[in-house]
């Protein structure tokens, strides 16, 4: 089945302890699309400027990603610069030039209207809700957000959360959204706001999925997937969006939707996140094989499973 992702396409300039990359293709929709493309048919909705050329478009096309939803606007593409130092968990933004992204009004092409799955990457919550309403036939919607919207537009975000099935955020965002410092308690408060499942990303410690009672199966036991202990994280940019791409892409590839599928999806999320950070930008995500993905899935399994 197919999945639509709505988010950003950007040119990133990244400095990390491992080196530097200038003006490389990035953005949430890009990382998500490439990661999900190994599992299912991906359709992207985003906006780019006149500096986005056939070369960049071919990165999507080579992975079979449908780019008819990429709007070409006058002006420059979103540009971001960031530096990671000792603590690779957080980037210091060097510059953020929103450019054409500033007035982004996502429009779903008519060719996308039969899409079964939707991922709302981290954009303004009202835009997320609009997109969800434009795609009334979707079976399942995943959603990301960030501190900026949790603090700045809480009412709008609350409306969006009522429309989504699975929210994917990190520990800090979960605690802030719930106003609660204990993580499992915070998770249950977030689930009461709308989503049937909440994926909390713990960075180097993996991720936990919490279920609302009765959603996707019986009970409310959470499930944890690991992250790979990685000796050299070259560039953490896009790890969360690559995680979401692996997670949602795997879900969209399955005939059934139950807890066991969501648990495996959590592993595939970790797998795609672990590939993303091995190289600068999207380099690693452009050239994977399904065999490499399955081999790493086995590494994740061996990392956590008793005999």
């Amino acid at each position: 089945m197919s999945i639509v992702v709505v988010g950003s396409v950007a040119f990133d300039s990244i400095t990390s302890p491992s080196g530097k990359a200038e003006n490389v293709l990035g953005g949430s929709a890009t990382y998500f699309s490439l990661a999900a493309s190994y599992f299912t048919e991906v359709r992207v909705v985003a906006v780019v400027g006149e500096d986005f050329t056939a070369e960049e478009e071919s990165v999507f096309r080579k992975r079979g990603v449908d780019t008819r939803g990429i709007e070409h606007a006058k002006g420059k593409t979103f540009r971001w610069g960031g530096t990671y130092s000792g603590n690779l968990n957080e980037a210091k933004s060097d510059f953020t030039d929103l450019n054409v992204f500033e007035s982004f009004q996502p429009r779903i092409p008519s060719e996308y209207e039969d899409t079964e799955f939707l991922f709302l990457a981290n954009i303004q919550p009202t835009l997320q809700a609009d997109v969800r309403r434009q795609l009334n036939g979707v079976h399942l919607t995943g959603c990301d957000t960030m501190n900026y919207w949790i603090k700045g537009t809480p009412k709008e975000l609350a409306e969006t959360l009522k429309l989504v099935n699975i929210l994917l955020i990190n520990d800090t965002e979960t605690k802030m959204l719930a106003g609660e410092s204990n993580l499992p308690r915070a998770a249950h408060k977030v689930l009461a706001m709308g989503p049937q499942a909440l994926v909390i990303k713990h960075g180097e410690y993996g991720a936990t999925i919490f279920f609302r009672e009765g959603a996707f199966g019986i009970g409310h036991h959470p499930f944890r997937a690991p992250a790979l202990p990685i000796e050299e994280v070259k560039d953490p940019t896009g790890a969360g969006d690559s995680f979401a791409g692996g997670f949602m892409g795997y879900i969209a590839s399955q005939d059934e939707l139950n807890r066991e599928v969501l648990k495996r999806a959590l592993f595939y999320g970790g797998v795609m996140g672990s590939f993303a950070v091995e190289r600068f930008g999207t380099e690693r995500l452009q050239s994977l094989t399904r065999d490499e993905i399955e081999a790493r899935f086995q590494v994740f399994r061996e990392l956590t499973h008793l005999q």
Copy 2:
């Protein structure tokens, strides 16, 4: 088989968001002994003062713990007071009265000399090394330490690390000991200092065991065990020592010593740590059953294992 633990016995006064407990039995040797007692025969080496009565001793005895190694000295038992606030990961010390613990010189009773396993709880590294040398017949030695010794007595600690098989410390301690901010790289540096395996405790995110190449089996792939998402941590005191008790106790109960045993031991460590924090002091560890422990082991398995 049996295990000797050398560490502290204390009276703790604890304040947490869930309440207060005054002068309750605590100390690393106490938490470790009780947790390990569900798996194997435990022998304790510690020092107490005149305020340690038959009532406290009965807490050990009821769990079958051999207390012949507890030295009764003139003066008062070690007393510690601590307060946990929003961040339950760290206590603010209200007071630390070392009392008889200040001049603790661990002596191994002759009845303990045939012991197969040893756990050196967090005490001065030279004392840890002395104990290890007194017990020349042990098969396997586990060891804990802390920032205070890593910074204050690095040479002494380096000598001790050459004598131990498994070191159990947390993320911050691992990075400080290795002088390296990437955790897997830090782990390999620590393994080069002596231990064949390193257990890194991640608090609410569980624990990872790293193996030196070829130790306890083939390869050097790490293994991760979860921690239980707990909605109300009443008192985090002793969680690490209870983890060590479950981990070492399970190892001592097994006929063989290989990676699969160590992986299961990591799960049992998490299980005992999760029980410890449910009530103040050692209350929960005094009254468990093996069935409750096995049931929780299953919960940990379901939390992490795909079908």
